[in-house]
Amino acid sequence: MNEEIAAKIKKMLVERLRIPEDELEYDSELFGEDIGLDSIDSIEIIVGLEDLFGVDMSGSGKENFQSIRTLTQYVEEHKED
């Protein structure tokens, strides 16, 4: 996993979605009990990742939104350098 991308995603989630930084691990389940994100948050995540990396996640599968780790993997795979 690309640490630099993961750190940027974490910072984005903390800022945009006001998730307490100390409760957010790279493997925290974003849409489950841990962090409790919902559909509005997923819109923000899509916009945030587009802003940061130019990666469009709209329409991509739920499995990519599971955690910072899966988001990072998606960005790594779809980022155009």
């Binding site: 962090i35 509005i40 948050d41 819109i43």
Partner: protein, 751 residues
């Protein structure tokens, strides 16, 4: 005051929206199925995926020659038409008995946009724009414009506000607080709402298509105004009567801040409550003007609610006029009320437009045997009609109009109500700090088992409200569960609402473009989000209303709460006064020139648990005090003038004393509102010396928590209640003032 059941009738109509500049031209369009939806002109939408809007053709100057925010101007236009239509001769009327109650969602958003755009572009900002920002200003502006001196209120429950304001007008007429109300709703087109719904992907690319393609809303603007008056008053002046306003129902989903409950339970609860309060059976309803926004979530839930309650009744007509004039947010309910009454007058149902032949076939499948009216108006005799509005925050409102009077539920002004719980969140002032700030850190919420997954969604205003609500319920020993959730309601009074979140959202739109609104922040920009979160967290499913009306809204909330209990809607009410303080608000108050005279700002939320005698007895509740009497009075002064006339304050105090059935001398302590602004302090001093010739002990909560506005107003009553629990005082009073010349007073009696 004696118990009374009063008929409320509609005697005047006014309307301005994308369909036309007055009620007749709007109706002509609506009943011929003509759409007012076009490409947006108010601002550029080139960077957005949608470009549609339903805007009013008239410019600000064409609406009214005075300088107000566009939301106020739209209302002045519609209110002027409604007053003229009603034939009220204001020269002959007692203007103190003519009130103004308006619903709004976005308030002065256009002025917020202008102020911060000026600031962003390095231009000089205009102080007047600050005074045009709050929703609190609107009803007072309209009352001032027409020289009306009755009670005002701004109902700020987002897209249900326009319907709830009509219900509020009837409540206040039935409880004897006014003879006539200019009642309705208003909202201007705004980048705030456009960017917000765009961020949520809730805008339709084409004109909205309710109960059909359901792929999003089209935002509109406008104002609908009804003149509602007591039947006795209307008959005495030989007025023409369009219809009766029977009863209304308000409920909370307690589910999600933007999405409706998929099972439609909250919507059905509001509809059932409305029918019950109206004395009508659901089978008697001839036409429903549906909420019908055109989002998939709304339309699915609403189809389900309607099918469950009215299924297989082809004789029931249903339509969504939003297909023609867009979703006018806080104005929607009032605009739809005007169109519904026009429908009754004409004996015609306005259609939902935009169906192809194929769509009509599909509608037959989805309609559950209900007579949805598509594309063309339908001739039909209409005797009983309903209009529904559902909002962010999970608020649902339903109201019933009828050609004939019914046995409506009245309000018992004499039913005793007790304060049985108090929750206080107030600020502290650190050494060297310029104001009082409250602690709403996550640690505070952890004590109450509020999970951070929930808490992170809330803005500061919602934090304050939630915390005080939880503490008040705990103090009263109330656990909300399925057995009592429908019998508990919420009233929140505020001066400035969630202004920080609104400004931060707007700044982002100004800096990054209308296509870059924050989907996360947008739900918090509606004033009633805090009440929504409180209901979601606690599970409270009853009445839920937020009133923006200057500082005194914190005390006015208690009066609304008492009315909800005395109507029989709820057994227990949470009455909250709340206002937040951040650097954004501090700057706005400073730039408006209010902080010069030694005023120290504060923030907080104070919730009082009000309970019927029956419920308190059943629960064995501890009683702080009894609500013995209350009153609100006003005399117009321009919004933003720190002061007003002492006459209205004296009137509020005297009427509250009379309502309590006591004399001024019976009251031993007065909680006042002096805050360092000399004109205000003088008004209080003059009124006190006029009423209490021998003086009275005055206490002031601002001394140790600052001018926390609506929170201070509610805190005054809470402190009085706490003082009385432990002292021998038989009666105490709290008074408060609000910008625009409005005052409230409440008398407590030892329980």
């Amino acid at each position: 005051m004696s118990d009374s059941i009063k008929r409320c009738v509609v005697t005047g109509l006014g309307l301005v929206c994308a369909l036309g500049d007055d009620a007749a031209s709007c109706a002509a369009s609506a009943f011929s199925g003509k759409s007012g939806i076009e490409d947006v002109k108010s601002f550029g939408t080139a960077t957005c995926y949608s470009h549609k809007g339903a805007e009013v053709a008239l410019t600000d100057e064409e609406l009214c020659s005075e300088k107000y925010d566009r939301t106020t101007l739209l209302c002045i236009k519609a209110a002027g038409e409604a007053l003229a239509d009603s034939g009220l001769d204001l020269e002959k009327e007692d203007r103190r008995k003519i009130g103004v109650i308006l619903g709004t969602c976005i308030g002065g958003a256009a002025s917020i946009d202008k102020y911060y755009t000026d600031s962003f572009e390095g231009k000089e900002t205009c102080k007047d724009d600050i005074l045009r920002m709050p929703a609190s200003a609107i009803a007072n502006n309209v009352a001032g414009h027409f020289g009306l001196d009755g009670i005002t209120a701004n109902i700020v429950n987002a897209c249900a506000a326009g319907t709830m304001s009509l219900a509020g007008a009837c409540d206040m007429i039935r409880s004897g607080k006014a003879d006539v109300f200019v009642a309705g709703g208003c909202d201007s087109f705004s980048s705030l709402a456009y960017a917000g719904f765009h961020a949520l992907h809730a805008l339709s690319e084409d004109a909205c298509s309710p109960f059909n393609h359901s792929n999003g809303i089209t935002i509109g603007e406008g104002s609908g105004v009804l003149i509602i008056e007591s039947y006795e008053h209307a008959v005495a002046r030989d007025a023409k009567i369009y219809c009766d306003v029977l009863g209304a129902g308000v409920s909370s989903d307690a589910y999600h801040i933007t999405a409706p409950r998929p099972d439609g339970e909250g919507q059905m609860s509001a509809i059932r409550r409305a029918a019950y309060n109206s004395g009508v059976d659901l089978s008697e309803i001839d036409y429903i003007n549906a909420h019908g926004t055109g989002t998939s979530k709304n339309d699915e839930a609403e189809f389900l609610s309607l099918k469950t309650l009215f299924g297989n009744r082809p004789e029931l007509a249903v339509s969504s006029t939003k297909s023609m004039n867009g979703h006018c947010l806080g104005a929607a309910g009032s605009i739809e009320a005007v169109l519904t009454i026009e429908a009754m007058k004409r004996g015609e149902v306005p259609p939902t437009i935009g169906y192809s032949a194929e769509d009509i076939e599909a509608l037959k499948e989805k309609s559950g045997g209900i007579g949805f009216v598509a594309n063309e108006k339908q001739a039909k005799e209409l005797n009983v009609c309903m209009s529904n509005s559902f909002a962010f925050g999970g608020n649902n409102a339903s109201i019933v109009f009828s050609k004939e009077p019914r046995d409506v539920k009245g309000i018992s002004n004499t039913a005793p109500i007790y304060i049985t719980g108090v929750g206080k969140v107030t600020g502290t002032k650190d050494e060297g700090a310029s104001d009082y700030r409250a602690d709403v850190s996550p640690e505070v919420f952890k004590k109450h088992e509020v999970k951070s997954a929930f808490l992170r969604k809330l803005d500061r205003f919602s934090d304050l409200v939630l915390l005080s609500g939880i503490e008040a319920l705990s103090d009263a020993g109330i656990k909300v569960d399925d057995t009592n959730a429908d019998d508990i309601g919420i009233v929140i009074g505020t001066s400035d609402g969630p202004i920080t979140e609104i400004v931060n959202f707007q700044k982002l739109v100004i800096e990054k473009g209308i296509e870059n609104g924050s989907a996360f922040m947008f739900p918090n920009t509606v004033y009633n989000a805090a009440g929504g979160y409180l209901s979601i967290f606690t599970g409270i499913r009853g009445y839920n209303i937020t009133i923006a009306n200057g500082f005194q809204a914190g005390l006015q909330s208690v009066m609304y709460a008492c009315d909800a209990i005395r109507r029989g809607d709820e057994n227990i009410m949470l009455a909250t006064g709340a206002d937040e303080l951040t650097d954004i608000e501090h700057d706005l108050y400073e730039n408006a020139g209010y902080l010069g005279d030694g005023v120290v700002l504060g923030e907080g939320a104070v919730t009082l648990i009000l309970e019927s005698a029956e419920s308190a007895a059943k629960r064995g509740s501890k009683k702080y005090a009894q609500i013995a009497g209350y009153a609100t009075a006003r005399h117009s002064v321009p919004y933003g003038i720190a002061g007003g006339t002492g006459e209205a304050l004296v009137r509020a105090i005297e009427e509250a004393i009379a309502d309590a059935g006591i004399s001024a001398e019976d009251i031993s302590v007065l909680y006042g509102f002096a805050n360092g602004l000399k004109p205000l302090d003088d008004i209080l001093g003059d009124a006190v010396s006029k009423i209490w010739k021998n003086g009275i002990e005055i206490r002031n909560v601002r001394e140790d928590s600052g001018e926390a506005r609506a929170a201070s107003a509610a805190l005054s009553l809470a402190r009085a209640a706490e003082d009385m629990k432990d002292s021998g005082s038989e009666y105490m009073m709290a008074v408060s003032f609000g910008a625009g010349g409005i005052y409230s007073a409440a008398v407590l009696k030892k329980a």
